[in-house]
């Protein structure tokens, strides 16, 4: 019922399902290009765009806006949010994932939840989609590289799924593992990271209502390059903490290793909370550039502590955030 698709194949439009402007413009552009292609008689454009079209026509997801947890800032366009991505499993350039991620098979898909839990489980993606009511939450996304976006995600609090497996008293951390399949992910051939990509949160961070298990964005299922079919969104931390295309969630008693921390411990800490006062060794984190808004003619905007999500500050009471960066 939440993942709406009527048996006769006709979707009844909900107001929240109305196609965003960027998407239908993208489709029109595609149609125009396809027409041009037909005239020229070359199929190359069409082949190159078939995937983009398939993505544009992705299944829509009905969700209720959670206004309390959403920002009212201007949203980044769907085009920018789905074509400027860090997803190294599909290449290290920002434009690589949108080109390469079509090889990712998002169905069938299961997520195993185990470790320090009373009820370990392997959930099918269809089960995950129905596990809790889907909400739309418009979050700021701050990349560790110094840019930011505003994205309407679809999903529900991660705590919903963690409660189901009944964590034991030893569960202190949560580890998230991204799929690592060489046949689907050409970027795995490059030794940039020690695959698979793993990320982690402390248990109380994972249980915070802001920590989102996302299955969609802009009212539709996640595009592959954005981490389909299910990913994490932790808006008060740098983007790389939010693991994509998750296949396993493991609760642990010890702090898990995390991919970027392994690779460059002096640059990427376990916590990686957005913090304007702690520089990255190679650049300042005091300011950021909002994609699609900040350009040539103004200074970069100030980065906010916890990316503006002050409600998480209590999680870190008494901690030296310069040490635990």
């Amino acid at each position: 019922m939440l993942f709406k698709r009527s048996p006769n194949g006709i979707d009844l439009p909900y107001p929240s399902e109305i196609t965003p402007r960027e998407v239908y413009e993208g489709r029109r552009q595609f149609i125009a290009r396809a027409a041009a292609t037909a005239v020229v008689g070359s199929g190359i454009w069409e082949m190159a765009n078939r995937e983009a079209f398939a993505q544009g026509a992705a299944q829509r997801l009905a969700a209720t806006r959670n206004a309390a947890l959403s920002t009212t800032e201007a949203q980044t366009s769907f085009k920018d949010a789905s074509s400027y991505n860090n997803y190294y499993e599909f290449g290290t350039d920002k434009g690589d994932p949108v080109e390469n991620a079509h090889t990712l098979k998002t169905r069938p898909w299961t997520v195993t939840i185990d470790g320090e839990v009373k009820k370990p489980v392997t959930l099918d993606i269809d089960r995950i989609l129905k596990l809790a009511p889907l909400e739309e939450r418009i979050y700021r996304l701050r990349c560790v590289e110094g840019w930011s976006m505003v994205i309407p995600w679809v999903g529900y609090s991660l705590s919903n799924i963690l409660k189901q497996v009944e964590p034991t008293g030893n569960a202190k951390y949560v580890e998230f593992t991204t799929l690592a399949d060489r046949r689907q992910m050409p970027g795995l051939r490059s030794p940039v990271l020690d695959w698979p990509y793993v990320e982690g949160l402390r248990m109380d961070e994972a249980m915070h209502p802001l920590a989102l298990l996302a299955v969609g964005m802009y009212g539709q299922v996640l595009p592959n390059q954005n981490g389909a079919p299910v990913r994490l969104i932790v808006p008060w931390k740098y983007g790389f903490k939010s693991a994509k295309s998750i296949v396993r969630i493991r609760l642990t008693s010890r702090q898990p290793r995390t991919a970027w921390n392994d690779s460059a411990p002096n640059e990427y800490g376990f916590y990686s909370n957005v913090n304007p006062n702690v520089d990255h060794p190679r650049w300042s984190q005091a300011s950021e550039r909002r994609i699609g808004e900040d350009g040539f003619f103004q200074k970069k905007r100030k980065t906010l502590m916890f990316n503006g999500y002050d409600q998480v500050a209590s999680l870190y009471g008494g901690m030296d955030l310069k040490k635990f960066f």
Partner: protein, 207 residues
């Protein structure tokens, strides 16, 4: 007999190389004007940095090319190619000064001092300035050929510094594929010079 263009032929080749070397800049400007890159500022920063390294390599390749092919005329393209290396380095510096620091000199200098990868990149850029300034015929004359040549050997320092800058920039992501390629090319181009200089000395000793 080796190809040896003179007069109008050489002028035409120079004009062609001038335009070709300008193309990367025109392409970047065009793409940004069309709104193609999602993050045009990053696109320009990366693009101008890449092309600085390409032109440093191309400039360093002139002498080996001349020695290996006997095309002595290619030396006449060298100053222009070197100036293009400076042109792209200058643009790269401007992207840093403008986009990262919005023309705040104090902030920029703080960044230069604080971050080693920027420090070496900045030193390489500063060292390019005297080479660009002394690239006119009048300056060659004023300095005298020998001193001019010595000064311009600074490129043997500048190119490795540029690669170190790129190497450290990529270090955080363990992504060394491109820096390794640049490093190998520059190492080869410099090693050829060492070899020839050694061979020449050995020959002189025998004579």
């Amino acid at each position: 007999m080796a190809f040896n263009p003179i007069g109008k032929q050489l002028t035409a080749i120079k004009a062609l190389v001038f335009l070709l070397a300008l193309l990367p800049f025109l392409r970047m400007a065009w793409l940004v004007a069309q709104g193609v890159p999602v993050e045009p500022l990053e696109f320009l920063t990366r693009g101008t940095g890449d092309w600085t390294l390409y032109f440093l390599c191309i400039t360093l390749a002139v002498t080996p090319l001349r020695r290996l092919t006997g095309w002595n005329w290619v030396i006449k393209l060298r100053r222009m190619l070197g100036l293009y290396a400076f042109f792209y380095a200058l643009l790269h510096f401007v992207t840093f000064f403008w986009f990262d620091h919005f023309f705040d000199i104090a902030e920029m200098l703080k960044d230069v001092v604080k971050r080693p990868f920027i420090t070496v990149g900045f030193i390489a850029f500063v060292l390019l300035i005297p080479l660009a300034v002394t690239s006119t015929n009048a300056m060659v004359k004023r300095l005298g050929g020998k001193r001019w040549l010595w000064l311009h050997r600074l490129i043997y320092v500048i190119a490795p510094l540029g690669i170190l800058h790129f190497w450290w920039m990529k270090a955080g992501k363990n992504d060394f594929q491109e820096p390794i390629i640049f490093g190998a090319i520059v190492a080869l181009l410099l090693a050829m010079r060492v070899y020839w200089s050694y061979a020449k000395k050995a020959q002189a000793a025998r004579a």
